[in-house]
């Protein structure tokens, strides 16, 4: 029945106009596929070359498959210490920056006060300053105050550039927050601290998790600011920088792949939690 109607209905179209319609319909999809190949190609290269069995110092051309780089992932002097340092810094920096960021976001969204605009500007400025200037200015501060470079200078720097990201992430969640829920808790006799602990905190928990993940990722990836303020300490990106000058060992690709896989899993987990929560909130 329907086939009879559709066979009779459309005007006869030439092959070329049908082809043109097909191209117009799918050109954007085809382009997007190419775009994603381009975007993911270097990641593929990193993963593939983590299994390479290089001849000599340079890991540029494919020589043969081996598990050895993964089995002896810390077989290069210094790589293990650099990873441990990066993890320590990223963990502490993301916790401290997120705590400070939550407090600032609460003040900015919840209260009208003198200096609100200035505070917003202060949060925005580090995000719009080139990293090299952030790193260089901290370097001159520490030099002028005769501070010894090392763990603490790296940590101070990382917390500094993570705060703005934490504030922006948590603020976005607080703005879409139903304040009646808190008022209801207070009406039912809860004091401010109990209300914060039992109502506010659980509701902004996804934003806190997102902020922790974001700060951790930014911290562990940072090269420029760390390069200026590390002294003789070596984080993982600094290790890669040093290795790149004399020939990168395949173990660098192994760690790069591991970080990629873990970050991807954390991201998927975070998305899963948010969609679950979204669903239960609407249900």
């Amino acid at each position: 029945m329907s086939s009879v109607v559709s066979a009779a209905a459309p005007p006869r179209r030439s092959f070329w106009s049908a082809a043109w319609a097909f191209v117009r319909r799918h050109v954007l999809t085809a382009y997007s596929i190419l775009f994603f190949i381009y975007l993911l190609l270097p990641i593929g290269v990193v993963i593939v070359f983590s299994f390479n069995n290089p001849v000599g110092r340079f890991n540029y051309t494919w020589q043969g498959f081996t598990w050895n780089n993964w089995r002896y992932w810390d077989g290069v002097p210094g790589i293990r210490d650099s990873i441990v340092l990066s993890l320590e810094i990223a963990l502490i920096a993301s916790l401290v920056a997120t705590a400070l960021g939550v407090l600032i976001a609460l003040a900015l969204v919840r209260y009208g006060f003198r200096g609100r605009g200035t505070t917003n500007l202060l949060i925005f400025l580090p995000l719009s300053t080139p990293e090299i200037v952030l790193g260089a200015s901290l370097l001159t501060l520490f030099l002028n105050l005769n501070v010894a470079f090392g763990f603490w200078t790296i940590l101070i720097a990382h917390i500094m550039f993570c705060i703005s990201f934490a504030v922006v992430t948590v603020k976005a969640r607080l703005i879409g927050f139903d304040r009646h829920l808190e008022e209801a808790a207070m009406d039912l006799g809860a004091n401010e601290w109990t209300t914060f602990r039992k109502v506010t905190l659980p509701l902004i928990a996804p934003a806190i998790l997102a902020s922790l993940l974001l700060c951790f990722a930014i911290s562990i990836d940072d090269f420029v600011v760390t390069y200026f303020n590390a002294g003789s300490q070596v984080t993982f990106p600094l290790f890669v920088w040093g290795a790149a000058r004399v020939g990168t060992p395949p173990q660098v690709n192994v760690i790069g792949t591991a970080i990629f896989v873990i970050a991807l899993a954390a991201m998927l987990f975070s998305i899963l939690i948010q969609t679950r929560r979204g669903r239960s909130a609407t249900a």
Partner: protein, 289 residues
């Protein structure tokens, strides 16, 4: 708690204090020190003295103008490339993404999960002299027999483009996603062609995303030195390379500090010119997002 009840006006300041003090001490004060350092004279051996040495700025501009211009040029071209490359994809995800939207967005930010230096080194592998891409281009005679991809301006610009692509694609996606689809339908009901509806409705409504993406890409790109270091030759060095070398290898702090401020000034001028071209309300609108 009792104290807070009596002084309710204090609460926001107490909440702000730790974070704002941190930013003040380790962002604003260091900028002040950098400014102070930039007006000093002397050397590492004899020490530095503050002498209102404005000549440092003059020297920075005079001796390194080609580096400043190259930085703004590379960053500008790379920003334009990220815009052209990612707009169609952001559009495709926003309007045709369907239930897989989140997955596509995850793919867009996936490069960020690989350490910045490692993904730049991956481009070094891809563009290498005897790599697959260079060999293919030579076979097709698109590249001379001794032609190189690595250690060229093209490689540096490509590296910057790739590394900052998500900064452009995400704001574009957000602004396209927010567009009320009924506005586009209304334009088509009023006999606008697909192309005209895009040009008159979709494109103007996505401008805040274009502006935000441009700033997020251009500012860090202008100060970058990693791509120029790993993918370029000495002829492709950007001002970031000079600042980095002056600070860390040569210890010529006043000159390096002056260059940092000239770089920020150059970026500010570029952003202001851009703001005039697209309209200031777009700029402040994107800053508020």
């Amino acid at each position: 708690m009792g104290f807070l009840h009596r002084h309710k006006g204090l609460t926001p300041y107490l909440l702000l204090a730790p974070g704002v003090l941190w930013l003040g001490a380790f962002f604003l004060v260091p900028l002040g020190y950098l400014a102070y350092q930039s007006l000093q004279t002397g050397s590492l051996d004899v020490g530095y003295a503050f002498t209102w040495a404005w000549g440092n700025y003059w020297d920075a501009i005079n001796n390194y103008s080609s580096y400043f211009i190259r930085s703004l040029e590379y960053a500008g071209i790379a920003t334009l490339l990220t815009l052209l490359l990612s707009y169609p994809v952001a559009y495709w995800i926003a309007f045709r993404g369907g239930r897989w939207k989140n997955l596509f967005l995850l793919a867009i930010v996936a490069p960020f999960f690989v350490t910045y230096l490692i993904r730049t080194l991956a481009w070094e592998t891809i563009l290498a002299d005897h790599g697959f891409v260079a060999n293919t281009l030579r076979t097709l005679h698109l590249l001379g027999q001794n032609g190189r991809l690595l250690a060229t301006a093209l490689a540096v610009v490509c590296g910057i483009t790739y590394n900052f692509l998500p900064f452009m694609a995400l704001p574009l996606y957000v602004s396209l996603e927010q567009i009320d689809k009924r506005l586009i339908e209304a334009a088509q009901d009023l006999y606008a062609s697909h192309f005209n509806a895009f040009l008159r409705v979709t494109l103007p409504l996505s401008l805040p995303g274009v502006v935000a993406g441009t700033l997020l890409t251009f500012i860090p790109a202008a100060g970058d030195f990693i791509n120029a270091q790993l993918l370029g030759s000495p002829n492709n060095q950007m001002i970031g390379n000079v600042i980095q070398a002056k600070f860390i290898q040569v210890s010529d702090y006043p000159a390096a500090a002056a260059m940092s401020f000239v770089l920020m000034g150059g970026i500010l001028i570029a952003v202001l010119i851009y703001a005039r071209a697209v309209g200031t309300e777009q700029l402040t609108g994107s800053a508020a997002v």
